[in-house]
Amino acid sequence: MLSCAEFLAEFGDYLEHAADPELRSRLEEHLHECKTCRVIVDSTRKTIRIVTDSECFTLSADAVEPIVAQVMSRIRESKR
């Protein structure tokens, strides 16, 4: 069976449900026996969900057009 260190090195694809069947079965075998790694998988998936849903680096929709206008104005100016 995989050790915890081996599990942690390999479970990236598993997080995204993209591990190939052979790897998935080895990872799940480990998970069945190891509560710590089960907690890590669960909390990492939740981390991804929170980060993905976050709007901390999002530009508001009404801020887009001023940037577009400034970029195009600078381009047109440079071509004069």
């Binding site: 089960r38 890590i40 669960d42 909390s43 991804i48 976050s54 680096f57 530009l59 940037i67 970029v71």
Partner: protein, 572 residues
């Protein structure tokens, strides 16, 4: 070639440039801190272009213009002016040969040289065509790296219609050398003595050009002026640029030769092998890796990368402006030598440890194999990009609109400050517009734009050093999850959206840069793993490894806020 009035002082200082161009082009002014390089280039230009031998001056100018079009160098297209249209089948044959050599050097074989012989060209004329093409590559590389302003009074002509190259290319191995002329130079020929002194042997490349001793003299003089002096970059740094660019150009001959020369200078063959495969994993100092990162972008094999050379990363790691100019000049010389060898089919002086084949044209990381014209087939931005490339500036507006939010997100996550991110977003689009001529569609436009954003954001972070360290404190080795308590079933209910955003922002900005970028691209911008890997020039497995590490670090930092108190500690 374009002519314009020049001052008597310029005529006096650079008579050969004036003879070639009618004035002293900005390209050479941009190298003012390196007069020895200008002198070497001037001598090469005189031997290759000005001295008429078997090919006429208009024929050579037509080849130079063809190379500038292949390299999409607006500066050189303006400098060389409109090519004289191929007036005869012979002219057309030699132009087609030069275009193939410039665009697809590794595919040139003895068969192409036979076609020229069939069209009536003797070996001396073929040699001139090869050297002229190599010179065109050199001048385009200089223009790409130094970015001089187009010379006053000149404008780039509209793209010319060039002879078509075959759609499907075969990597045909024919034994070299392709020219049959026997070596005529005596062993005491001065350039040979110089090469023996410098390298311990006379490379086959120079023996193979003995039909034109004046060319050999000019080329060896360029080595003496550019490669050997150690007042700016060290000889080893320059040899490594030559080795790395030769690998990028898939030049077996030069990779074998430079590996041996570096070995004689104390750099092991294994270390050179590592530079050839991926210098990031070699043991050379970090600034030298940046030097190879940037100079490799100047490789003449087109569009192995859509990225362009930038001086800022080199300045950030301590290189001076004269050293940066020398790095560009060295890259230009490397492309000159690689093109020369590819056209002449020179056989290696040493048994090659690494033989490049057609397979090396396509990266192993699962990236799509380019189509015959190198374009990604399903890029939703392709039509707009093509319109901008054809001069329709207004079409760029929609591209800016489509990508502003994503580019802003990447930059905000890198630089942290929203105002800086807004300014940097504009800079990214301006850089993209300025360099769109070089974009050849080997990645999606959005991927290319993302890579510009990452470079721009990284430069901003570098400029903040040392006042604002990048937190590259190494948490790499030995990183292990420490928080092993169960999280609440619905962590979103533990804190409101604004509190969560604040936490995520702080945690992301505290990540070491390489993990932060991976998380930003995949989890914040939600672009595919393959695109994120391409934007960072990483293999897919390398991107996945960084992403997993970044996610685990984030988990660690968010954990204390989301632990389910009632579930307690896991049985570790």
């Amino acid at each position: 070639m374009s002519r314009s009035p020049t001052t008597p002082r310029e005529q006096l200082k650079h008579p050969q440039l004036v003879a070639a161009f009618g004035f002293v082009p900005n390209l050479f002014d941009a190298q003012g801190q390196l007069p020895r390089a200008i002198e070497a280039e001037e001598r090469l230009i005189d031997a290759v272009v000005v001295c008429e031998n078997r090919l006429s001056r208009p024929q050579k100018e037509s080849l130079l213009c063809g190379v500038a079009n292949v390299r999409k160098s607006d500066y050189c297209r303006a400098l060389f002016g409109n090519a004289h249209p191929a007036a005869s089948p012979e002219d057309s044959a030699i132009l087609r040969f030069a275009l193939k050599l410039a665009k697809q050097g590794p595919f040139v074989s003895g068969n192409d040289v036979e076609v020229l012989r069939g069209a009536g060209f003797e070996d001396a004329a073929i040699l001139e065509a090869v050297v002229t093409t190599a010179l065109g590559q050199m001048l385009c590389t200089l223009a790409e790296g130094l970015r001089p302003a187009v010379d006053s009074g000149l404008t780039p002509p509209l793209p010319v219609s060039l002879p078509e190259l075959p759609e499907s290319l075969d990597w045909i191995e024919t034994p070299g050398p392709y020219l049959r002329s026997p070596a005529r130079a005596a062993d005491n020929f001065q350039p040979y003595s110089f090469l023996r002194e410098a390298y311990g042997f006379v490379p086959n490349l120079y023996r193979g050009q003995s039909l034109r001793p004046d060319l050999v003299e000019a080329e060896v003089h360029a080595l003496a002026q550019v490669l050997l002096p150690e007042d700016l970059l060290s000889r080893i740094q320059k040899e490594q640029i030559l080795l790395s660019l030769s690998a990028a150009n898939l030049n077996t001959y030069y990779v074998a030769m430079r590996g041996q020369i570096l070995s004689a200078m104390g750099v092991s063959l294994e270390e050179s092998d590592q530079i050839i495969e991926d210098h990031h994993h070699s043991r050379i100092p970090a600034p030298d890796k940046t030097l190879l990162d940037e100079t490799r972008k100047l490789a003449c094999l087109p569009a192995r990368s859509d990225r362009w050379f930038e001086a800022a990363p080199l300045r950030a790691v301590g290189f001076t402006q004269p050293q940066i100019v020398e790095a560009v000049v060295m890259s230009a010389l490397a492309n000159f030598l690689n093109t020369l060898q590819a056209g002449l089919g020179t056989v290696p002086d040493f048994p090659p440890r690494r033989v490049f084949t057609a397979k090396d044209l396509y990266p192993p990381s699962g990236q799509a194999r380019p189509t015959s014209d190198g374009a990604i087939a399903d890029d939703p931005d392709a039509a707009l990009v093509a319109r901008v490339q054809n001069g329709e500036t207004d079409a760029f507006e929609e591209l800016v609109r489509r990508h502003t939010r994503r580019i802003f997100g990447t930059l905000a996550g890198l630089v942290g400050n929203m105002d800086d991110a807004r300014d940097a977003t504009q800079d990214v689009f301006l850089k993209a517009f300025e360099n769109l001529g070089r974009f050849q569609g080997r990645s999606k436009f959005s991927t290319w734009l993302t890579s510009i954003a990452i470079n721009t954001g990284t430069d901003i972070l570098r400029q903040r050093r040392p006042s604002e360290p990048l937190e590259e404190v190494d948490q790499d080795e030995g990183f292990r999850p420490r928080q092993i308590q169960s999280w609440a079933d619905n962590p979103e209910q533990v804190l409101n959206a604004s509190q969560r955003d604040k936490l995520v922002k702080e945690a992301v900005l505290r990540l070491p840069e390489k993990y932060r970028v991976a998380v930003l691209l995949r989890d914040i911008n939600q672009i595919s793993t393959e695109e994120a890997a391409a934007a960072l020039e990483l293999s897919v497995p390398a991107l996945k490894a960084r992403l997993l590490r970044g996610r685990l670090m984030l988990r660690e930092r968010l954990a204390e806020h989301f632990i389910a108190p009632e579930k307690g500690t896991a049985d570790a």
